[in-house]
Amino acid sequence: MEQKALYDYLLLLGDNPTILGQRLGELCGHGPELETDIALTNISLDLFGQVRNYFQYAAEVAGNGATEDSIAMLRLEHEYKNALLVEQPNIDFAHVICKQFLFDVYHQLLLNELVNSKNDQIAAIAKKSIKEVDYHVDFSSTWMQRLGDGTEESNEKLKKAVDFLWRYSMELFEATETETLMAEMGVGPDLNTLKPLYLEKVKEVFALSNIEMPEKTTFQFGGKTGRHTEYMGYILAEFQYMQRAYPNMQW
């Protein structure tokens, strides 16, 4: 029972970077400038590195012949536990940055807690990942300010992105049964304690970016329990393509 919960928790930890990394990978070669292209690819690379750590450990925990690849690529859509936020499309650079920022701030808070996890493996992965994620936060919050403060056009585009994406932010803090159990066991944090810190940081960066906190948002939930948006199936169609078309092969 505990092993099953631990396995599920590793999916919760690994699926967000998987799907966000996949979205970032779509941008490679298409960024507004070489420097941003490099940075976004680098973030994708960091995230997939973290995913490999989580899923190699999950494969050990599962112990049924599973591998990092079978866990990453051979599940059905409803078995993915990523938040809806990270599967949202790269509509424009403002959406890319805003999505990244809203996730990065959460990710940093989460990892800062996970370094103290009672599970040594998770603590070690968090310790390694936090350095990378500190840079991600720096990158995305700096770009939030550039876009928000830059021109009228960029401010307008960022506002639109914030208005669209903010509805997906609170799902990050909506604990699933697994997360509640892991918090009780001292493996993961109580997400409720992270929420005020998150709101504080987001408000601070929004203010520096001339963006107001959206009012009266109807928040969207479901990804973490397997009910995704329409985009998810298409993401998986690409992500899983080779593993589905050529099953059981070595690459």
């Binding site: 779509e26 070489l34 490099i38 690459w251």
Partner: protein, 317 residues
């Protein structure tokens, strides 16, 4: 005045002959400057356009390990583009001007990137053959006379040789795999073999700039010599993979100590150079779309930096 220039040119050539590097602030003949701007920027554009056919497989890489390696590789290429644009800028032209030349189609880039990447095996073939061919050219360029270019090349070569091994390793995994994987590998070799040979440029007799380039040490070997070196190095590697080079005329020639190989389809070569390859239009469209869609982002970054600077000034006043 004319005599002066002639003296300068003679001294310039003497420096190159002595093996000295020419640096950005040194006097150089205008033709030397222009040739280098053209060549270094073409090289930079090739790195940047080259991100597209490989970027095409990032979202579909077959395993996490391969995905991470491919992301890292494409990121390296963007980095090479950056150093090369910087090296070109030392010759008195801006990166924006160079990018404009790429986007409006006046600048060239390596034609190999106008071929499509249709299967995962193409990531192997591109690394093995395309990076393999590129390295042969680039190793030579680490000794080129223009200092900033030569130094950029030293670093690029290190990363490229890693990419080539990575590409070969992808091919090796496929060739040790299932029938479907071997077929995929052979098909990729069939499509990339001839375009890779074309990467060394026209035959020596059709390459009028070679002599001047040799004098300036931009080139130390001719196109045909380099092409021969590539064939000789690659055929045994294909043998290890158990793949067949798609050239019925390929055979070992004891007298020359190298392989004889068939005639390149030069009509195809010139067609692709002139913009009529399978993907020329798409590659340029993609680069143009990235640039156009990024305009407001670049403007925002500049506007923000200016506002920050003026805020700092008013604070300190």
């Amino acid at each position: 005045m004319e005599n002066n220039t002639r003296d300068l040119e003679a001294e310039f050539q003497a420096r190159i002959d002595r093996g000295e590097n020419i640096e950005a602030k040194d006097w150089m003949p205008e033709k030397y400057r222009k040739t280098h701007i053209r060549q270094i920027s073409q090289h930079a554009h090739s790195e940047v356009v080259g991100m597209l056919p490989e970027g095409n497989w990032i979202s579909r890489a077959p395993s996490l390990r391969r995905k991470v390696a491919l992301l890292a590789k494409v990121q390296d290429e963007a980095g090479h583009g950056l150093y090369l644009y910087s090296a070109a800028e030392t010759l008195g032209i801006s990166r924006d001007e160079l990018v404009e030349q790429l986007l409006d189609g006046t600048a060239k880039y390596s034609s190999i990137f106008n071929y499509p990447t249709l299967t995962w095996a193409d990531m192997g073939a591109v690394g093995w053959l395309v990076d393999g061919a590129a390295i042969i050219n680039q190793v030579m360029l680490t000794k080129t006379s223009y200092g900033p270019y030569a130094r950029a090349m030293v670093r690029i070569c290190k990363e490229e040789s890693f990419h080539q091994r990575q590409g070969y390793e992808i091919m090796l995994a496929l060739c040790n795999g299932s029938e479907a994987q071997k077929r995929m590998a052979q098909d990729a070799l069939n499509r990339f073999w001839w375009p890779s040979l074309m990467m060394f440029g026209p035959r020596d007799e059709d390459s009028p700039n070679t002599e001047q380039s040799m004098k300036w040490k931009i080139k130390k070997k001719t196109n045909d010599e380099l092409r021969q070196q590539f064939v000789d190095q690659t055929v045994p590697q294909a043998d290890i993979l158990g793949l067949i080079i798609p050239d019925p005329d390929l055979k070992w020639n004891d007298d020359k100590g190298g392989y004889d190989f068939g005639e390149i389809d030069w009509d195809e070569f010139w067609d692709v150079v002139k913009g009529n390859g399978p993907c020329n239009q798409k590659r340029l469209d993609d680069r143009n779309a990235a640039w156009d869609n990024g305009k407001w982002v670049r403007e925002a970054a500049i506007a923000h930096a200016e506002k920050q600077a003026s805020r700092r000034v008013s604070k300190s006043a």
